[in-house]
Amino acid sequence: MGDELRNRLREERSKRGLTQAELADLVGVSRKTINTVENGVFIPSTVLALRLAAALKTTVESLFRLP
């Protein structure tokens, strides 16, 4: 938390027609976690980033990048 990290989570989620709650269910976290990651408030752990990428059938690098 605190360091900047750009992410394309909202775009990737919308592309697959998923709500925050549906993605949260797929990943096994709460909706607020998805919300804070999308808003850039929270930088996810490596495990969560990998889970998000797997749920959205993409790579971590395409979801997250440094500014």
Partner: protein, 149 residues
């Protein structure tokens, strides 16, 4: 109950938790402001049962930020309510509380009070603000996490 409903249910529990945390903290703070057991000319006025009640309430408020509770809702709901971000919020709030405690302790040490400050009074002056700031900061972080946009 479906898996999707688990996420929504946990979301609801999490919202209620931060609202309840704010309510309990404000009630605790209000009680302290009404009682004002410190800084009076008679010295520290928190004896017997009231002293234990204060300690239990203060500990209870700080414990609200721990990733515990929700046992009645089952393992999945519990893990969703206390997931990565909530645990992080708990750590951030506890860290803030530590800094508050250190700064108040230093202030008590360096500020001339004009009379002796007992250990019990110093404990009260340190723990009470910590027991207010830690849960309120946790609740604010949780509320921010729930905010859409």
């Amino acid at each position: 109950m479906t898996s999707r409903n688990d996420v929504e249910f946990a979301d609801n529990i999490s919202r209620r938790r931060y609202l309840a945390t704010i309510g309990a903290t404000v009630a605790f703070l209000g009680a302290q402001l009404v009682a004002r057991p410190v800084l009076g000319v008679e010295g520290f006025q928190l004896e017997g049962f009231r002293r234990y009640l204060w300690a239990i309430n203060a500990l209870g408020l700080i414990a609200l930020t721990l990733p515990i509770g929700g046992w009645i809702f089952g393992r999945r709901i519990r893990s969703l309510v206390n997931d990565e971000i909530s645990r992080g919020h708990g750590r951030m709030a506890t860290g803030a509380g530590l800094w508050v405690a250190i700064l108040i302790a230093i202030a008590i040490l360096l500020t001339p009070l004009g009379r002796r400050c007992s250990a019990a009074e110093a404990s009260y002056l340190i723990v009470t603000p910590v027991a207010v700031i830690v849960p309120l900061y946790f609740a604010w972080l949780e509320a921010r996490a729930h905010r859409d946009g």
